[in-house]
Symmetry: C2
Subunit: 356 residues, 2 copies
């Protein structure tokens, strides 16, 4: 598919950040990147790995004007045996194609996408950090590159993969965060782009995020745009609640991104015999559970943090403290289980790992 990946090695590799440096998220980039072009009539072509460096685009390139761009995010982990593994990259390739379809962009061969990721990780393997909990974040993205101002699907695209070594999301172990329930701004609506990983969704979320910060909250919990009543996601994570021994998460309504962590967690809960339901969840249901003392745990889920315990929810000026602001038993178990799989500390019985 698309031919052999041509490799042009970087003659002047960067100094890697030190073991003890705080890596942060997406601030350092590795020595190489993958790139492949699309042109109408010709299809995807010229896959290559080249030195990481600036992209040059006409100022009329459509990505600058009409936001025709989608992306993915996944991680490579270094196991104790010094293997380097990816977590469910096939799922990211699949979702990338769903996102492309939503924005009228050409599909990519999913196996080739995984192959491209593997090839790039292999070349920059030394960039996969060794420090406890750290990993290599991988960012595949596709964007419209045709120069032209007519509002229509571009005839040219680039598919690019860049990579960044990242620290553990919680340097000191899991840490509950405060979350603001957002009643004004909307992230997405049925018929829109909320169920795709589309660039514009994230720009649209920045204002609400700023309001959260002002309220001493780490993120917002989005409500549905139509009735401003049903829970959707928390920041860029899916959201789960444990109420009276049962786990619930909002169903995929068309405006929610289908997280790969979400999917994996539902799988694990089923395996463990813990009841889990995908359903419509009204904010009033959460308030009621809080008030009658059955709201046991709440957490976000996503590639960056795996799970993120919610310490409190701020809604209509009132703060609902969950589990006395402590890390719940379930969220800890999920975190341990998934990170143990990712770092090869337990056997990968689900075949979720793919070697590089």
């Amino acid at each position: 598919m698309y031919g052999t990946i041509r490799i042009e090695r970087n003659p002047s590799c960067k100094t890697k950040p030190g073991q003890e440096e705080n890596l942060g998220f997406g601030r350092h980039f590795t020595d190489h990147m993958f790139i492949m072009d699309y042109e109408e009539g010709q299809g995807w072509h010229d896959p290559r790995i080249i030195p990481y460096g600036p992209l040059s685009h006409d100022p009329a390139a459509m990505v600058f004007h009409y936001g025709q761009a989608v992306f993915e995010g996944l991680k490579a982990f270094r196991t104790d045996k010094e293997d380097i593994v990816l977590f469910r990259p096939d799922q990211n390739a699949k979702r990338l194609n769903r996102s492309c379809e939503r924005l009228s962009m050409p599909a990519l061969d999913e196996e080739f996408v995984v192959h491209a990721i593997q090839s790039l990780v292999r070349l920059d393997a030394e960039w996969v950090p060794r420090k406890e909990g750290s990993s290599l974040y991988i960012r595949p993205f596709v964007m419209a590159t045709e120069a032209g101002l007519g509002v229509r699907a571009s005839s040219r695209y680039s598919f690019i993969i860049i990579m960044s070594p990242v620290g553990a999301y919680y340097e000191e172990g899991l840490q509950p965060v405060n979350i603001l329930v957002e009643g004004h701004f909307a992230r997405a609506v049925q018929g829109g782009t909320g169920n795709a990983k589309v660039a514009g969704n994230y720009a649209a979320s920045l204002n609400a995020q700023a309001v959260a910060k002002e309220n001493n909250c780490a993120q917002v919990l989005w409500l549905d745009a139509i009735e401003k009543k049903y829970l959707e996601e928390v920041g860029s994570m899916n959201v789960f609640f444990k109420i009276n021994g049962e786990v619930v998460t909002p169903s995929l309504s068309g405006s929610i991104l289908e997280g790969i962590t979400r999917k994996s967690i539902i799988h694990l809960l089923n395996e463990w015999g813990i009841p889990v339901k995908e359903q419509k969840i009204a904010i009033d249901d959460i308030v009621a559970a809080y008030e009658n003392g059955t709201l046991e745990e709440a957490f976000g889920t996503g590639t960056a943090a795996v799970v993120s315990p919610i310490g409190s929810l701020l809604w209509q000026g009132k703060s609902m403290v969950i589990n006395q602001g402590n890390i719940g038993e379930l969220v800890q178990r999920l975190y341990d289980t998934i990170t143990d799989i990712q770092f090869g500390r337990t056997s990968d019985t689900h075949n979720w790992l793919v070697s590089c």
Copy 2:
């Protein structure tokens, strides 16, 4: 404000498209572009006009990943007296700032924006075409340029202006088009970004546009995302209807872009004593008016076409032909009036024109 605009002339100017060439829309670009940078702490700085040419950005530049980008569109016209004029550029500068605010981007001095446009048009004045109905399309845009993958507002931006000579939208005079009423996809929702000129809105609209084309329609008429009942916009234009002698247009509900052409048309109608109302308009109201024979005219309005008569509306498989598919009297009068002002064929009693 921001200091003097530094000018670096293009040593190798392009050949301009010939008088008889079909210019299309946004395909040719002039010899120069304006650019100014923003950095947190420093603010907007280094305004300059330089040769039109590629922009170089880190592959992690936020605009590629999170769609933090907004734009404007306006035109420069060459009058019979060889003056070059802009149509209400102050309104574009104002709307640009509203869009920036929605995406957590830094504001621009509005007078300076107009000054930058004027300076660029003056330098590339020979690019303003002379052919009947043609003009110079001006595209100011702002985008996030910081390299980093954290989802947050960028700390760096570029404000850029590029320009493109464009032909008359209707080479052969006004031409009614077929429009598909879109019942599935959503353009925008209250609390979202529909009332700002935000890059991602346009990528989100491409799928619906493709469905319109398949149905032999030029564009879609968007319904509100909540009830799928109320009219919003037609493609990238506002929409007006003349029903029983009265003109109606959807009110600014929070999900509709406030068009400058829309505003100008409401002003003219008021002046002419033609009743015009901004209100909620259900698609059922239009069907009812069609059925009882009072639906007299329908048209879109926007900078590109000024007005665009709607020949028919396709809704739930049925086509409603409007005014027997002919150009209505009102839409023709509006078109003539506005283009006469723009091309200096009538006096600019509203002070809508600004010279370059």
